[in-house]
């Protein structure tokens, strides 16, 4: 097996799929010649040619619409939006057009599209480059939202996303691109969409999280272990749809949970997770489910993002609260 960081794993997934299926196309701003601002697609244009991997003019709505049209033609577009804050320019095409294509056409057309975008805080990027907008997208029926936390998952989830016949929004955390290397099989494999992963077993409290916060939560869990609290950590991997079965199974064991997300607190993925826990597992709970999240402000300028982002200390405090409820 090869050692890859998350960026290389995503590139590897793209290469596997470009090779396997001639209908897979890759495009977006600057993705062709130099391979994108993070070089995720580096080398792919050379390998597969300008017809399959190409730069677009600077127009996100057009990138989204191009993907929708190509999807109608039977292609499988992987469209990059350079940074997360620029999806707003393309939201009509993503949430109105792509996500409704199957419904509107009575199943005649679909949108087998992957929209890729880097996101995620802690890297002191410029405004609108790091916001966690997954909550906004999960409110859209007809679209799946994937947030990998490690190289192995990233490759398997990307391949699954490309093969999925519905639109998938694939969010790549900036802080994870180069964070670490892990074993990634060179052959193709899929990590099923909509399936969570128990990354750490424990019997006292469940932390439900995803993306970068998986790592922050594991750190907190290690600290809590020293206090004698055994924490189970669940990585959602797909934030829409949510794998409630894995969560409920865990809560039946631990009877306590918190949800950790980088995004602002209100009305997002964490709120949805808690709503579903209420529906499916309320009688197994010994304490209310708490959220550790960013405050309900705009994502701050670089100056204070480190304080703004959830950290192990805040997670430890929340776990202690539910344990001592």
């Amino acid at each position: 097996m090869a050692q890859m960081n998350m960026k290389e794993a995503i590139r590897d997934a793209l290469r596997v799929e470009l090779k396997r299926d001639p209908n897979v196309l890759l495009f977006g701003e600057d993705v062709g010649n130099v391979g994108g601002v993070f070089r995720v697609t580096e080398g792919l244009q050379k390998e597969f040619g300008e017809e399959r991997v190409f730069d677009t003019p600077l127009a996100e709505s057009a990138i989204g619409g191009l993907a929708v049209g190509l999807g109608v033609q039977g292609f499988r577009p992987v469209a990059e939006i350079q940074f997360v804050g620029f999806i707003f320019e393309a939201l009509d095409q993503m949430v109105v057009q792509a996500a409704r294509m199957r419904f509107r056409s009575g199943g005649k057309y679909n949108s087998p599209i992957v929209f890729r975008t880097p996101f995620g805080g802690g890297v002191k990027a410029a405004e609108l480059h790091t916001d966690s907008l997954e909550g906004l997208l999960t409110q859209t029926p007809g679209i799946k939202v994937v947030v990998p936390s490690n190289p192995y998952d990233a490759k398997g989830l990307m391949i699954a996303s490309i093969r999925d016949n519905d639109p998938v929004f694939f969010m790549e955390h900036l802080n994870l691109y180069h964070a670490f290397r892990a074993e990634v099989p060179e052959e193709d494999y899929v990590v099923e969409l909509g399936k969570a992963n128990v990354v750490r077993e424990g019997s006292d409290v469940t932390i439900i999280t995803y993306g970068m916060m998986v790592h922050t939560s594991v750190k907190a869990a290690e600290e809590l272990e020293k206090q004698g609290i055994k924490v189970e950590v669940i990585d959602l991997r797909t934030v829409s749809p949510i794998d409630i079965d894995t969560i409920v199974a865990s809560i039946k064991k631990t009877n306590r949970a918190i949800v950790v997300q980088e995004a602002q607190k209100s009305a997002g993925v964490a709120a949805e997770v808690i709503a579903q826990i209420n529906e499916k597992a309320i009688l197994h709970l010994e304490a209310p489910v708490l959220r550790v999240a960013g405050p309900d402000t705009v994502y701050p300028f670089a100056q204070i993002e480190d304080t703004w982002l959830p950290n192990p200390a805040r997670i430890v405090a929340a776990v202690n609260k539910v344990v001592n409820f």
Partner: protein, 355 residues
């Protein structure tokens, strides 16, 4: 010469040039009227801007600045276009257009604070008619037409200038802005700095149009193309556009053909998409060197002047970066309180998480 319109519109347009690379006036009729003091002031600003850009790149490498987009090479478009409007006029910039903001009145230390990711960087002082730098490419173009409509409704004679790049001219917002300005005959100047690249994407992959100036035609507004390395051409075009705006004749799209000597941002390697030959070709058109030759011939500028301005600029940059560094840090509670005029209860509660 009689031509059917479509022939006219499919032809390339030649860029307006007033000053040759050797510092000679080659287009007397188009020479803007400027006093000797004004000429020296413009040169001062251009040299200052170049020095500040050099320093900013170093400060960025030392971690004393955050996000910074270099500007060297674009001094004629930036300094010249701002110089050609009045203090009362409004500037709607893109993320790279910090020099226009500063020359229009934004204190330099605030520009540094903006770069360092501090909210105070965007608190524009009263009486300075500018918006904060815009990250969303093209969004400012739409604000510009709204602000211009405001002037029109209030029967004020001000104009609005808004900036974007060749890349920005592909955004839907760009076309929508042009079209509205045409329909409502708004006093707005759309100033496109075509520096040949949008990050790594070359102009040829950005549009199949022969020029960006052509895009004015479809919106029913005036479009012109100027040599963006030529300070006089820039000033002339903007002065004319401003006059048209003030006279109620509507909007103008100006395409200024220029080049940035440095890559897109500090974290970018231009050698992956630009050639050394191309860079050399453009550095021979350096707007400052060209203008200096003209001024030297007129006895208005010497190499010592350049050296003096550089020293002044360095000292000023040092002072202002220190001021930025000394500015009180942002706090989460301050941030929370800046979301609404009156902080709602749930946000008051959230402050407790950060105590």
């Amino acid at each position: 010469m009689s031509k059917v319109p479509y022939e006219v519109y499919t032809e390339d347009v030649e860029a307006l040039s007033v000053l040759s690379p050797d510092g000679e006036i080659i287009n007397k009729d188009m020479m803007p009227i400027l006093s000797d003091d004004q000429l020296k002031e413009i040169m001062y600003r251009m040299v200052f801007t170049r020095t500040w850009d050099d320093r900013a790149v170093n400060l960025g490498r030392q971690g004393r600045l955050g996000f910074y987009a270099p500007v060297s090479g674009q001094e004629a478009t930036m300094v010249g276009s701002e110089f050609a409007i009045e203090k009362e006029d409004f500037v709607c910039p893109g993320y790279r257009d910090i020099p226009q903001l500063v020359w229009h009145g934004l204190p330099l230390y605030q520009a540094f604070l903006y770069s360092r990711g501090h909210q105070h960087g965007g608190q524009i002082p009263d009486g300075v008619n500018v918006l904060m730098p815009q990250i969303i490419i093209g969004a400012q173009i739409l604000h510009a037409m709204g602000i211009a409509m405001g002037y029109k409704l209030k029967k004020q004679k001000q104009v609005v200038i808004t900036y974007t790049g060749d890349g920005g001219s592909s955004e839907g917002d760009f076309y929508e802005g042009l079209n509205y300005a045409g329909v409502y005959k708004l006093p707005v100047i759309f100033f496109v700095q075509n520096n040949g690249y949008a990050i790594t994407t070359p102009f040829a992959k950005q549009t199949a149009a022969l020029s960006i100036a052509h895009k004015a035609v479809a919106a029913g507004i005036k479009g012109v193309k100027v040599d963006g390395m030529d300070i006089f051409a820039v000033i002339k075009a903007v002065q004319e556009a401003a006059e048209r705006g003030r006279n109620g004749e509507g909007a103008t799209l100006i395409e200024a053909v220029t080049y940035r000597f440095r890559p897109h941002s500090l974290s970018d390697d231009a050698s992956k998409y630009r050639t050394k030959e191309e860079e050399a070709e453009w550095s021979a058109k350096d707007p400052i060197a060209r203008f200096a030759k003209y001024l030297e011939k007129k006895g208005l500028w010497t190499e010592e002047d350049t050296a003096r301005v550089k020293e002044e600029a360095k000292a000023k940059v040092n002072e202002e970066i220190k001021k930025a560094e000394k500015t009180e840090k942002m706090t989460i509670s301050g941030l929370i309180d800046s979301m609404f005029e009156q902080t709602p209860k749930h946000l008051e509660e959230q402050k407790a998480d950060f105590q």
